[in-house]
Symmetry: C2
């Protein structure tokens, strides 16, 4: 999955750790991915939920998509849906509500239903989407519980549709290059990973509602640290520990943790330590410590391109890969996987694997003991 993409990478190395922005455009606008046998077709996406992520990231991304296009909007707010339909030249006949969601089954312009709802609604709407006979792309975290994840996978299998989880980093060139470096052990074995991802959250968001979010920063942004440790190690953790804080005097955290630190142990003995927060200004970063050097990304998980430095023998070099619109990129790649009938890079099983570990992390933090996986 990684090879064909990373073999095309542009590896530009500069000295020092200056935060120079690489002058690289979207690989899509440059046509770097164009292949003679590319199917010209764009798959139609129904966007379910018109919240901040849809408005600011996903809807604007379609104009940079080669294999995906906006085909429908689903919202509980008809006026809002009409506004964005107008903005993106979508005929109002492709607007749906949660009540008439099942009518998507009869909308031939829709190939994929992209669930961009609060986490606690992912299972219900993925199951309903599958029953419409449409492929499903669902934001991370896949769901609040492993049981919900299983229901989602089962529903998609039963409906013979594909399910992908929106792990945008896994489709992103820096991350794919990093995965390849770890697999090929270009700096020797990876022994330690440290990662942080957090921000100071405002009030009045579903993200601090336990039923809708399934948890606090771990479910929302800490998942990037966990997912990175898993894809970089290419393995599942065998044992985890965690500690969390939920201050009683901060109403934002009546229902979910304010911050968590956690550690992971992998089958080959490699370790990871991670932090995630909703109550401090953390940003995102990732450090991979290998036998012969280390690799540092900051930002590591933001919507813009990561910045990456590789250190060997004390020398730090910046590595530059193509910058992509991460949302256009993941929708294009999922579309290609569907059109070319290839394996899904981030299937439901990948989403479930993270949810399984996150449930273990909450248990470890609550019970004050390491959780081992059988």
């Amino acid at each position: 999955m990684i090879g064909s993409r990373t073999s095309r990478r542009r590896f530009i190395v500069g000295s020092g750790a200056a935060l120079a922005t690489a002058a690289v455009g979207s690989v899509f606008s440059q046509g770097a991915w164009a292949r003679a046998d590319d199917p010209p077709k764009k798959l139609g996406f129904a966007i379910v939920g018109i919240g901040r992520l849809s408005i600011n990231q996903i809807l604007p991304a379609f104009e940079r998509c080669k294999h995906a296009k906006l085909a429908a909007l689903v919202s509980g707010d008809a006026d809002k849906a009409k506004k964005f339909a107008s903005q993106y030249n979508l005929d109002e006949k492709h607007i749906y509500s949660y009540a008439n969601f099942e009518n998507l089954a009869h909308d031939d312009s829709v190939d994929v239903i992209y669930i961009v709802l609060p986490n606690g609604l992912h299972a219900e709407y993925t199951v309903r989407a599958a029953k419409c006979g449409k492929h499903v792309f669902c934001e991370k975290p896949m769901a609040n519980t492993v049981d919900e994840c299983k229901q989602m996978i089962d529903a998609c299998n039963a409906a013979k549709v594909k399910l992908g989880i929106g792990y945008r980093m896994q489709y992103e060139p820096y991350t794919q290059a990093l995965v390849e470096m770890c697999r090929k052990q270009v700096q020797g074995k990876t022994r330690l990973i440290s990662a942080d991802h957090g921000f100071n959250i405002g009030g009045g968001t579903w993200r601090t509602n336990a039923k809708l979010a399934g948890g606090g920063p771990l479910m929302d942004v800490g998942i990037y640290c966990l997912n990175a440790a898993r894809y970089l190690m290419g393995a599942e953790p065998v044992e985890v520990t965690a500690q969390m804080d939920q201050p009683r005097d901060d109403p934002r955290f009546n229902e979910v943790e304010a911050s968590m630190v956690f550690t992971l142990k992998f089958p080959n003995g490699a370790l990871a330590c991670c932090s995630t927060t909703y109550d401090s200004a953390g940003g995102s970063r990732l450090r991979i410590m290998n036998e012969g050097g280390d690799i540092f990304l900051e930002p590591a998980f933001s919507y813009g391109a990561p910045k990456m430095w590789i250190r060997e023998r004390g020398q730090m070099k910046q590595a530059v890969y193509p910058a992509v619109d991460q949302f256009a990129n993941e929708m294009d790649e999922f579309s290609r996987e569907l059109m070319e009938n290839k394996p899904i890079l981030t299937p439901g099983e990948e989403g479930l694997a993270d949810v399984r570990v996150m449930q273990a992390l909450y248990a470890a933090a609550r019970e004050g003991k390491a959780v081992k996986f059988a």
Copy 2:
């Protein structure tokens, strides 16, 4: 302890994260610390153990000391001692062996005995030094066990001599500025700390001998992460977790861990996550995540000056403080504390506090459960 020094700091702020080296000299050579009432006297230090740290860092540092001078050498290798005595213009009558160590009691040129031996010998030689009636400065970690630390404290109290532990960072201007920023909450409360410190160790060193080292990278370099979390929070952790790896197929790690990840929880709910390694190229770094911004140091714990960036509202600014010779600095400061009869910044109790937590971390890792302190 912090205030008088940091109020003199030069706070030079530049944009970006370029790794520019600040053009600042030693505060001592510049006379920045000179005060009219400074006693002109230099205290005499006996250096016990002529290993790499003594040879490369401590002995060369004396020429930059204002309040400390080399007064004696203790070594099991008479030729080596003579060589360095000659190099540093020390009369051979001030050379001692471990057999005649107690003769230091009668060497009036010696005010302080600085223990630079393997960790497992710190307790024995601190007790012997105290019985000579000399003040004791002892490298970190203070000892292998809490019991040993208590013996050391008791011996110094009984002999009415002072005991300081060689936490060079705590005497260093960047670190002191950082402590002050956390105390004053200039970016709001500190909620999360992440820190890494490690390197890929060679063979043939006492540092991987359990009896001499008391443990692996945690005792040697991970202690910097732990100590930083404690001095930045200004509190003791109430609960800790840890995981470690000790690969069976690597003879370097027959007796000690190869790497460890650990988490700490503080009384106010702040969390820390840390990693330490002897089998990957980690370097040293420290991130403090506050409510309103974050502060990043890399290197954080090396012998050279740290590099430090402060981020607020997305803008990263480099902060520059005076660079000092950390070993000259700590010997000078300890000497001043003795001469001015001030409290010791890093007394035996500080060393004991780290050893207590490190013992808990090993227990947490072995037993797979969080260790709570009463």
